[in-house]
Amino acid sequence: MELLERFAAGDLDAFESLFRQHQGEVYRWIMRIVRNTGVAEDLTLETFWRMHRAHARFDPTKGNCGAWLRRIATNVAIDHLRQARHEVPLPDDLPATAQQPPAEQLALRSEISRAMDKLSPRVRAVVLMALVEEEPYECIAEALGISESAVKVRVFRGVRILRETLSRAGVHP
């Protein structure tokens, strides 16, 4: 029996194999949205937990396990943004860019963080994936289960809100 079929039948060894194959990819995807290593690790576990819970609904004949996991991971990350709204600033555990002095960069990050808080979690996730991580629109659309044009609409909406908020704070893109 193939790995996906064994997983769908509830085989824990098959689940472990899939976990080991995909954990890095799921983690990196979630990092693009939540931008915090500890949270991303926790949400990676939550993604695989949801996958495990739904094993009976997985159809191995149609199955693209990677795409399914990416969809679950996106939902998990957006759920997190929704719950953590106004609580989690853009984290500092990522390497700083060397283009600006630290103090100025910190102030800019802080303004951007505040502006990002104005975005809904779904728009925020799309803005981060499309503009910061430069993921292709097609890839984002598939992960969110929406059309490419809907992704573009969310990018436009996000950019408009960011421009307005940043301009009010004296930051002019």
Binding site: R32, T44, L94, T97, R109, L128, V132, V159, R163
Partner: protein
């Protein structure tokens, strides 16, 4: 909105926020996953089983209480 306006915001965001594409998982998460699977397995306490057994026995020996229970539902 025009493309250059999007590009301006994109440049600003990219200057302030480093991309995370190179972020790698620092350790294997499988042990933590196993722990979570164990924790989330539903464990029914023994007294719940005892209560269920008592209810089943009551229904078996005193079937007259079934309409009363249904009425309460």
């Amino acid at each position: 909105m025009k493309e250059p306006e999007i590009e301006d915001v994109k440049k600003l965001l990219k200057d302030a926020l480093p991309a995370t594409k190179d972020s790698e998982l620092r350790h294997d998460l499988w042990p933590a996953m196993l722990q979570r699977l164990d924790q989330r397995t539903i464990r029914v306490p023994w007294w719940d089983w005892a209560l269920l057994a008592g209810l089943a026995a009551a229904l078996f020996f005193f079937p007259g209480i079934i309409p009363a229970l249904l009425y309460q539902l």
